[in-house]
Subunit: 337 residues, 2 copies
């Protein structure tokens, strides 16, 4: 304990002296963080260093000394002072009662996060990017373009249905309750028209309602695919399906401000503002409900994805570049136009 | 119009034939997307190509052909077919009524977004990274570490107060209503104890309440700094202040699942679960209120930032790496340990 006290006093003194050194190099009292008497300042520093929960204040004070030091005009002086600063910072951080960093990690997520993984294994695992997106934010276009840029496969509702249809003669083609099927040729509003029909359907899918059967078929397919190939999957709660099956992947959510999405909907679907806004809300609600139903989590909340992207801050092309950059290193750069 | 019809039919035929070619290369009927009669398939393709709002279905079908083509075992065949595929895709995209991409862009945001900017100018503008974060997600540690890695300055509430204190003899030291001041030596709960005192304070700050004066002083400082140096700024609604003043920057929001943040709070502040959870909620609420009050926007919603990060998916070190990678190209890589 005494040894620590001694160490703390020594560090406090060195911090105080570093501050003085920065001040001398800058030749301005504005560059000085500790302006009281030497003894008081050092005592104060020592107290802060051992204060546990308020030690972060010391971290800020040190950062301020660092900020000042970086403005030293003489390059040699600056480099020397910054070296001292960095060494001091590390020593203070290693004190038990100081602001030593407590990390935040979801061990399971980190284990499954391919952004981390790809630096360790690179070739041993398949790259699976799960993209959730709000309606009208160009998320699907970003997905298509990203798949093209990375030269990997792309799966959305339509493709899943198509693949499942061929893989399972039994597969029913009922469009499920999310995604773009609102515009498809078979309107999705149709429900089982009678109790008898409903029971027949449930019966056919081992006691599951048809939508659930579609969901579980798709889930199986996603997990199988992830063992065999690199791909991008749009929606389908693929992120949670893969996480639950302990399969590495990256989860990205793409969205954009409501008004911009409305504008884009108006353009892509030839709607007026009122109809576009209404449709947008409806489709967002539907996706949110689907995600909540199958995952129990809040759709579009940053805590449920590795990364959220505001596509309106970048546009489609730059969004693709940004995601590609996020997973880069071992990956080919996005295709040049 | 007739010319377009001709073009559409030609493209539809080429798509149909490409699909057949993929099928031949794969030697399996599973690889075939269009299985009906040639005439029907081509007619269907042509219809879809001109259908505007449902044309995205064609995009999915084409992606499926592409997915299949990528599995062709013979490398030469695969490359040849993929070339044909890419050329076709571009031609179809350029049709007026097809799924040609409508971009999503907030022109102002894009103009101010340094991730975009740095590729154009690289040295002419200063790098300003605005980090918002929920309590307990290690956002501050990520900010500190990122500033160290990028060798740029770091500003948080404490440092701002300290800088302002020195810049303005008049500057009042009242901690404002967000940030970590809950743990500071001067409890922030204290309010103006009487109407008279309140009036005095308002008077002193040109008719503004004290908190607003602090906010506007900080805002000025942030804008001034952004013209002179690279830095990271924590909170302070800096993203919106800079956007309103048309100063380029990058806005990042960092958060993590609630339970993980509670665990971390327990460790960093030596609290039990109940107290940590309660404090966390209180501080999140306070930050949300502050942001809403000064920006009118929802704090922590992905639409208000360029990027949102789940720190628990990476941990502090990898989060720093990820942000550094996002803005890389012209920037030095994060410091190696």
């Amino acid at each position: 304990m005494e040894a620590t006290r001694e160490k703390v006093m020594e560090l406090a003194t060195r911090i105080y002296e570093l501050d003085g050194e920065v001040y001398r190099c800058l030749g301005s009292s504005l560059g000085r963080v500790y302006t009281g008497s030497r003894t008081d300042c050092i005592e104060g520093l020592a107290r802060l260093m051992c204060s546990g929960r308020t030690a972060y204040l010391l971290r800020s004070e040190l950062a301020l000394v660092g900020n000042m030091a970086r403005t030293i005009p003489d390059k040699d002086d600056c480099a020397r002072v910054m070296d001292t600063y960095n060494a001091l910072l590390r020593e203070v951080q290693s004190l038990p009662e100081s602001f030593g960093t407590v990390d935040i990690q979801d061990k399971e997520r980190i284990r499954l996060n391919q952004v981390n993984l790809r630096e360790r294994f690179s070739e041993n695992d398949h790259l699976v990017i799960c993209i959730g997106r709000s309606q009208g934010c160009a998320g699907t276009d970003i997905g298509f373009a990203l798949a093209d840029a990375l030269k990997i496969n792309f799966y959305d509702t339509e493709i899943f249905n198509s693949v499942l249809k061929r893989l399972q003669a039994e597969q029913d083609q009922v469009p499920d309750s999310t995604g773009s099927d609102v515009f498809s040729f078979q309107p999705s509003g149709k429900k089982h028209s009678s109790l008898r029909q409903w029971l027949q359907t449930v019966d056919r899918y081992h006691g599951l309602p048809k939508e659930d059967a579609v969901f579980f078929n798709q889930s199986d397919l996603i997990c199988q695919m992830a063992k065999k190939e690199d791909f991008i999957v749009m929606g389908r709660c693929a992120d949670m399906i893969l996480a639950n099956n302990r399969i590495p992947h990256i989860s990205v959510f793409i969205t954009a401000p409501f008004e911009l999405r409305v504008q884009r909907m108006m353009e892509t679907h030839g709607l007026d503002h009122r109809h576009a806004a209404r449709l947008l809300k409806k489709l967002d609600r539907r996706r949110g409900r689907y995600y909540r139903f199958y995952t129990g989590l809040e759709w579009g909340s940053p805590i449920n994805y590795d990364l959220c992207l505001n596509s309106a801050s970048y546009g489609i092309e730059k969004s693709v570049e940004l995601i590609a950059r996020m997973i880069n290193r071992q990956l080919p750069p996005p295709e040049q136009k």
